[in-house]
Amino acid sequence: MVGPSGCGKSTLLRILAGLESQDSGEVRLDGRSIDGLPPKARDVAMVFQSYALYPHMTVRQNLALPLVMRDLTRLERLPFARRLSRRVAAKRLDIAAAVDRAAGIVALTDLLDRKPKQLSGGQRQRVALARALVRRPRLFLLDEPLSNLDVALRADTRGEIVDLQKRLGATTVYVTHDQGEAMTMASRIAVMMDGSIAQLGTPQEIYRRPADTRVARFIGAPAMTLLDGSIVRGSLRLTGGDAPLSKVAGAADGPVTIGIRAEHLRVTAEAAAAPIAATVHHVEFLGAEVIVHLVADRLPGAPAMVARLDPHAGERLSAGARVGVRPDPSALHLFDPDGRRIDTAVPGAHDFSVAS
């Protein structure tokens, strides 16, 4: 349940797994520190971005390896031990059963005797998952497990992983750079930025109350529009704009950054009457909705604004059209000059689900 960033997250995962040691801080699992333990003593399983299947082993051998290493002593692992000792033979049978069970969970039973080379990307991904879950560890670490898959396959596999996680109930840390993946899969997201965690919360919290501009820009597609503005005597104004956008309570006067989600920008045909006059830059058709990129006429240097419209409204717009843009005053996000969220700033920001 780790969220996205540019870098630092894979390192964090490797620290959790014990593959690298941290400079400071402590790693705890179920309340006990596992700091000094080597990877194999941590009871942690990890799925790597490249899957890291052993190419010279069949799927069955890939799945059996973690169990063989855990359950058999060095002597018992020798190839002839199975013949000599009944105990080893029994253990080997247990392992075979566990492998079959794990393969069943991810629907791989038919492919057990193939080598990784003979599998498709999605199948390899399932083998990697099965290898992680075969020994029922206390913690699953998933490092961008979907990034090598096709977009279409990714959506399916996403659902499968969520299902699996729910059925097994094991704590899972899922690292991804794709905010959509994080939003749909996680029960709690930690958004990592520049090596530290910028925000930790449920997808809803992070989407609706991003802690700073970096999180606001990162989470949500299309990205939140961020405009420069200022609070003058309790009234919010765009830098370069005329009309005040809304009243603000409980925030000091001064410059602010105003964040507006694409679904909270209303686009109207009358450019003059709206608070922001803008020109349509381009229109993206997404099937069920249309994303319109707008450039404000009187805000030089301001970034493009992005609005989400339904296809009916969006298709009447084309590049170059002059329109008016009206942000929903009850759904604005305010950030101070350092990028931190100003919290009680906009009246009505809390109940935006009604406003949307």
Binding site: R14, A17, L19, P38, P39, K40, V44, A45, M46, F48, Q49, S50, A52, L53, Y54, P55, H56, L65, P66, M69, R70, K115, P116, K117, L119, R124, R131
Partner: protein, 276 residues
């Protein structure tokens, strides 16, 4: 524009000519081995012998020296050298390629440096050392100087660097120690590289003349090239045919082994084993 098939054709001719250049001496060796002395010194460059008298070269060669004994020695020496080289080089190369420790680059620099030092330069000290331990004129003397091969370390290190770290990390999480990783993961992956190295090693030590000449005196330890030396006395000028026949006989095991392992070898070398 030259059309494509024509370009392809010229390429094929060029490559064909190059490979002919390679194979021609080999063909001549075979040709000479079945020619009678008079024909060889007749100066004709034809590949086919005029008469079949020359076939007698083969029984003559076998009669003149215990070639089979020499072949057996060659087998023992090459196998011994190769086994030790692999045992020493693979863990060492794994360490140099994948483990982080202080001085790693220095050690690797020394290995590269080791590539440079010819056996000629170090032969005398090694000879004296062996003499000191009364090990001259034995299999040990033939095998021991070559057990650690800088080339093998270099080759395996280069290969191990292409093994993704994630694979090893994954094995560590699955509970393998470093030793188990080498045995279970890295070694099977290195099979094609090991095959390639085995060919280099066996060929060079099979054909090595310099070192056996120095340390071996008893004919019972003669390796194949030493056996051939018997045909090489200055007066034996008229025995080129037998010499070539003996050479063909001692080259034959290598060629046969190569042809037998060819398919696997070429596959391993061509594809690499790391996809997936």
């Amino acid at each position: 524009m030259t059309p494509r098939w024509l370009q392809g054709f010229w390429r094929l001719v060029g490559l064909g000519a190059l490979s002919a250049l390679f194979l021609l001496p080999f063909a001549y060796m075979l040709a000479f081995s079945v020619k009678s002395p008079s024909e060889i010194f007749g100066g004709s460059l034809s590949l086919l012998p005029a008469t079949l008298d020359g076939l007698a070269n083969y029984p003559n060669a076998l009669a003149r020296s215990p070639l089979l004994r020499h072949l057996w020695n060659g087998l023992i020496v090459c196998a011994g050298i190769l086994a030790f080289q692999l045992v020493f080089a693979i863990p060492c190369a794994y360490g140099l390629a994948k483990l982080r420790f202080r001085g790693r680059e220095v050690v690797f620099g020394l290995v590269l440096f080791g590539l440079l030092i010819p056996i000629q330069a170090t032969s005398l000290p090694i000879y004296l050392g062996l003499a000191n331990f009364r090990l001259l004129d034995s299999y040990t003397a033939l095998i021991a100087p070559f057990v650690s091969s800088a080339f093998a370390i270099f080759l395996f290190r280069q290969f191990f660097r292409t093994v993704p770290d994630e694979l090893l990390d994954s094995a560590r999480l699955d509970g393998c120690g470093e030793f188990t990783i080498v045995i279970r993961i890295v070694l099977p992956l290195a099979a094609p590289t090991a095959t390639a190295f085995a060919i280099f090693s066996v060929v060079s030590h099979w054909n090595d003349l310099f070192w056996p000449l120095i340390v071996i005196r008893s004919p019972e330890y003669f390796t194949p090239p030493l056996g051939i030396m018997g045909f090489r006395s200055a007066e034996a000028g008229d025995r080129y045919g037998e010499l070539m026949a003996a050479t063909a006989l001692i080259t034959a095991p290598l060629v046969l082994a190569f042809l037998a392992a060819q398919r696997r070898f070429i596959e391993g070398i061509s594809l690499g084993a790391l996809k997936g």
